[in-house]
């Protein structure tokens, strides 16, 4: 797994995981309970479809929505986060299982 993404993933999980009371973390709750407001399934799609479908979904999303993108195209796993950064959006999580990756982003 990519180190950068792995680090990000660990940060989210490990955050405030002690006995201290912690503030309600919306992203964390959504992540744990697997809630996404919009799901984009681009498994089996190739360039540029994963990127384009992500953008289409983000345009339709309302502020506060979480969008989840599931795909298999290897380059998109790093290019979708690049696009999210360019759009000023908050990447929540990236996971990978075998050939399938899953990206979650807050709008």
């Amino acid at each position: 797994m990519d180190e950068e993404f792995h680090g990000r993933h660990q940060d989210t999980i490990g955050q405030n995981s002690g006995v201290y009371p912690r503030p309600v973390n919306r992203e964390r709750i959504k992540e744990v309970y697997g809630m996404a407001d919009i799901k984009v399934d681009v498994r089996g799609e190739t360039c540029p479809v994963p990127l384009v479908e992500t953008r289409k979904a983000l345009r339709k999303a309302s502020p506060g929505d979480t969008v989840e993108i599931v795909g298999t195209h290897p380059a998109s796993k790093k290019e979708i986060p690049m696009a999210l950064r360019a759009l000023g959006l908050n990447l929540v999580d990236i996971r990978e299982e075998g050939d399938v990756w899953k990206i979650r982003v807050d709008v």
Partner: protein
């Protein structure tokens, strides 16, 4: 300067049209604006029913090469040119048709896919688009 990509689509070759559409939809997907200026053989692809009619820029082999490439593209699940064009429009891309090409080639507005075209223009329109673009390409 706007975060914008402006591409002159001069070639009507299938593979080059793919390049133009993939780059421009990619730019839109990454938050840029994008304009496509269709001229010469590129504009022919906007004639109704001609979108997929372009040959391959290399090893066309009287259509055999194109057939083989299309078969491989289908196996790789590559999006059709029509789908890419629809995505381009849905993401706010702008299409400009070259008026001079229309005159030279005897193409009338009603021959073209008017549903896709935002503007009919000449070199001044391209320059206005390009001068405010951080990316401009001639394909």
């Amino acid at each position: 300067m706007t975060d914008k990509a402006t591409i002159v689509v001069h070639s009507g070759d299938m593979d080059k049209l793919y390049s133009a559409l993939i780059i421009s939809t990619g730019a839109l997907s990454m938050g840029m604006e994008a304009s496509l200026y269709f001229t010469f053989w590129g504009l022919e692809r906007l004639i109704k029913g001609k979108l997929e009619a372009g040959s391959l820029s290399k090893v066309h082999l009287m259509g055999l090469g194109k057939w083989m490439v299309r078969r491989r593209m289908k196996a790789a699940n590559v999006a059709s040119l029509e789908r890419l064009l629809q995505d381009f429009k849905e993401l706010g891309g702008k299409i400009i048709a070259c008026e001079m090409t229309m005159q030279i080639m005897g193409i009338r507005q009603e021959d073209l896919r008017q549903d896709l075209i935002d503007e009919y223009g000449a070199v001044g329109t391209y320059i206005q688009e390009a001068r405010e673009s951080s990316i401009t390409l001639f394909i």
